[in-house]
Symmetry: D2
Subunit: 337 residues, 4 copies
């Protein structure tokens, strides 16, 4: 950590700071420049509260050299985290395809979609039971009944399931769920993250709408600091000024996170774009960039004019895409030297 | 609501849509253009799910004409909402000053600050007991003990208190709290909002880091739809590309919200900027723009080098600012025709 | 175009508006709703100034149904634009690779890089002679001498060249240049765009740092409206809150623009990320998303410690990447049904 | 400047770097940490190219301690820059009000508005002759004729004029212009900035749509580095996710720039919001925050339904606002201790 002092810092405050840092076992290297003095802090600075130091009257700015996350940091855990969920293996060179309806609507719907996506090679079933909606007047999901229907589909197909939790009070309903998803709007719901860190199921954290990689990894760190090491990161697009797509998928998140962390990275092209015809090119782009898997919405009900989500693929389109994705994944593996 | 259809829409789907809309009591005016057909929906469209309609294969885009919020909408409630909390009156032409420490640290600290800000004219005491922090390794607040200390200060000074809730499980501890604050990162924690709508204390909702006015008002609507009409909005800066200030205070929020909603609007210049020397000019700007009040951090401990928050004013500086703000508020009232 | 009127619009102003629109040959369909009246404008609205209409006292908002660009619009020009530059063919299913140094530095450097990238399959040579720099104290490029060195490399290798113009006054120096690049910061330098529309060389327009697709296409329209139809679009990343990468590459721009326009779309993963190790995964992602080509920085001078741009690949790394990109492009072509 | 090295840097490259820095007269302080080595560079680092250093293989990141701008930096020029333009004085505690129509449309219009704003206390006349428009099909301003009409109004009223230049080729027409405005989209048109630095008229630089303070000050530095010290900065709102207002006015720019630079700061609430009813509260907020002046659109033609810009005030509304602004400016001056 580097502390840049203001010009002519108060001597007493500077001494206080240096004594306090030394009491924490930190060594201090001082560089006196023409206009500024710089303190280089050497030692384990990961537990120092950067805001407290930046708050000092005598400090102009503070810059971390070490990342503030430890458990999620590849530097300290060079091996890829691989998570086994039923028959699905997430991370470690596999391509995990999680597919299913945006919202669980009926037994018929979820069973039909589950069977279809399994036949196309999907390894997990996704589906929303609790739906975060901007408006209190919009459909909020089937709730507990939705989870029951997902369990049913799991028993029928053998596909492990991933679904979103919105509040701690729902956790009891998640017994049969295999991976618990934390939505973008809850990425910094720290109490929820802590509670999910204190249980054993894998947790998939979607990136916040305008969050940085570091904030996202700190949310993973909240879960991991409580003991749960099975965290999956899911890029789902960030808010930008572009309005043609709902969000802007940040494909670079895949190779950047590959370097920063050992956790698997999944990409959700459906929510990112909000338009089904953009899902195939972006799913392929994610595979080409090295993603560990995809989260894709599939819907099956051509009769119901009002439910065919604009971002959902029909099973036939999904089947075609799945084949292409797996072939591309193989092609790129073989292209490696 | 206006529905713009894609070119050459499928006739059966179009009929389905029109029948479904009519079954909801909506009248439809059709304009056939050279390249597009447009449906003008007339009637109470506030309960129509815009996403479902936009999701249809035959629909190119949908545009709301009515705002999606009703309870928070000034069009339907032209009178200012005025909230009485102890002796403090929020809204309706008053200037409410909520002041106090960022974090509650000790009895001595909170009492000293509470007395000081009261003497300077503050009408409410603010202070953090539960602190949302990006890092699990940072100080997370005193929790229940922090609330106990705030109550103590309330009894000593008579100032009503406002403090942040982070999770529903904490609600039992808030008996003695007067206004419950929802933090920026929880602005779209919909379960929390619903629960706060089902209780009686006023709720102050901070704007999310990259939220629009409409999203913010929809969060107020979540609370109000459950029956609690006492909602306060707090502008605290939004995330922009500027890094000199922690966030960018959006002063225009004040006059824009004044027009869109009848709810009181408070401005927090301390969190917005993260720098104490920027608090006075921005507090004055907020008053000049017509804010109903301010939320200002005040800290009192010059001895403790490590706690002097970079965004906190000392009591003397706060006193000077408070005098100026009240004088400015009076000046502007008198300047009105 | 749809015009949403304010509640109770002034009758005289409304009549003025309707008469004025009709005088422009526009038909008007009126829908009277409970709270708003909506005018549906039918006819050629592309020349109507949306800002003027939105500016009227009686108008609440205006929504375009037709896109404001015509020459660049795929609806009116369904065939892909294919641009022939020397032996290079841009668009129409080919994969154009433009490679070379960020800045032209010396004859030796540019010749060595040009030969190397040609051997790896690049079809055009890129290189900066005029460099837009944030600081007046930074190196601003070799200027005219840089262009001379690029011409030399063109004669040696046969590769057509693409380089950036910063100001109209430089145009005389561009005789030997094959494609003129307009940088991100000049995307809305409308006088420059008009002048480039009045000459014959193809123009490659980089997307502005925070521009939308529509603004970008309107910049292409500026060139095309003057008669020059040979416009190439280059996605180079947009500004977001993420600081790990210099910009965020918007891969979705490729399939979205494919639908909106017939112009070729090139992707620049070097500038987007600012880090050479991110170039290969993002270049592959761009190919997978369907890009017409790539713009890639290649540098050759391992001895000169101070010039090895962090975003530049060495020729060997570029050679490996080029092979992979071409193989991937073939793979995806064959995977099409 | 601080250079943070990657772990285990190549020794030869490190030596090259150190020798090169020392050859520039820079002293180097080295701190060896557990995971990183840090170089503290002491001396005049303002001419070092930070990008070149960051580009080195052995460098993880570089952090400036000194600001990269010198001429615009208050640290080196503590006194406020005050610019005299005719009878108007910009900076140094005055409140300069520049008012006039968005576009110059006719002699009658510009004369009437000029007289009205002068009577209300405006000290400069603004008006657009060359208008940057997103669409090539929108009205682009009267050009040379617009400048002629502004000159006429200047002779009639004595008000100095400020108007926008879009391209160097227009400079000859600006003989009678008093302050040359550089628009937001040209903020980083570096050739234009250099040329304006080589002439003598004051230059007012509008902030780019998504520019940081530092980038903005570097644009001022481009002008100043060529010798022209009379630069004015104009905050006109930045692009954010909010769509209710055209841009988000960053009032904090005023006190932040006051600290960073000695140049005067003007605020444009008309363009920032795009709505005339938001101009008065934001103009007052800007005065309360300490702005040196305002740029306000005033329009006078109630008959012409199609030209009444949504962001323009009528003369009567402007008159009321001007009185309030001057009174507020006086009030705040007297409130200072």
């Amino acid at each position: 950590m580097i502390v840049i002092l203001k010009q002519n810092p108060d001597r007493e405050q500077l001494e206080n700071l240096i004594n306090w840092l030394q009491s924490k076992g930190i060594q201090i290297h001082t560089s006196v420049g023409m206009t500024h003095t710089i303190l280089g802090l050497v030692g384990d600075t990961s537990k120092l509260d950067i805001d407290l130091i930046a708050a000092l009257d005598i400090v102009e700015s503070v810059k971390r050299v070490q990342e503030p996350y430890k458990n999620a940091n590849r530097k300290f855990h060079p091996e890829d985290t691989v998570i086994q969920v039923g028959n699905a293996r997430i991370g470690g060179g596999t391509l995990t395809v999680m597919a299913g309806p945006c919202s669980v609507e009926s037994e018929e719907q979820v069973l039909a979609v589950a069977k279809a996506v399994k036949a196309s090679g999907a390894t997990m079933l996704r589906g929303g039971a609790f739906k975060p909606r901007t408006s209190p007047y919009s459909f909020q999901g089937l709730g507990a009944e939705g989870i029951r229907l997902l369990s049913l589909a799991k028993r029928e197909t053998g596909l492990p399931i991933v679904t979103e939790i919105m509040d701690l009070s729902q956790l009891d309903l998640f017994d049969d769920v295999d991976v618990i998803q934390v939505g973008a709007r809850n990425m910094q719901n720290f109490n929820l993250l802590k509670a999910l860190g204190a249980q054993e199921k894998p947790v998939m954290i979607k990136r916040g709408l305008s969050s940085t990689y570091e904030e996202w990894l700190m949310s993973a760190e909240y879960v991991m600091a409580e003991g749960n090491r099975n965290v999956i990161l899911c890029e789902r697009g960030i808010r930008t000024f572009e309005t043609c797509t709902r969000n802007t998928l940040d494909v670079a998140a895949v190779p950047v996170l590959r370097q920063l962390t050992h956790l698997p990275v999944i990409v959700d092209p459906s929510h990112a774009t909000g338009k089904s015809h953009l899902v195939p090119p972006l799913a392929l782009a994610a595979v080409a960039a090295g993603a560990d898997g995809l989260l894709i919405e599939v819907h099956n009900d051509p009769a119901c004019a009002l439910c065919d989500g604009p971002q959902s693929l029909r099973p036939e389109a999904f089947d075609k895409l799945a084949k292409k994705m797996f072939a591309l994944h193989d092609f790129l593996k073989n292209a490696e030297d």
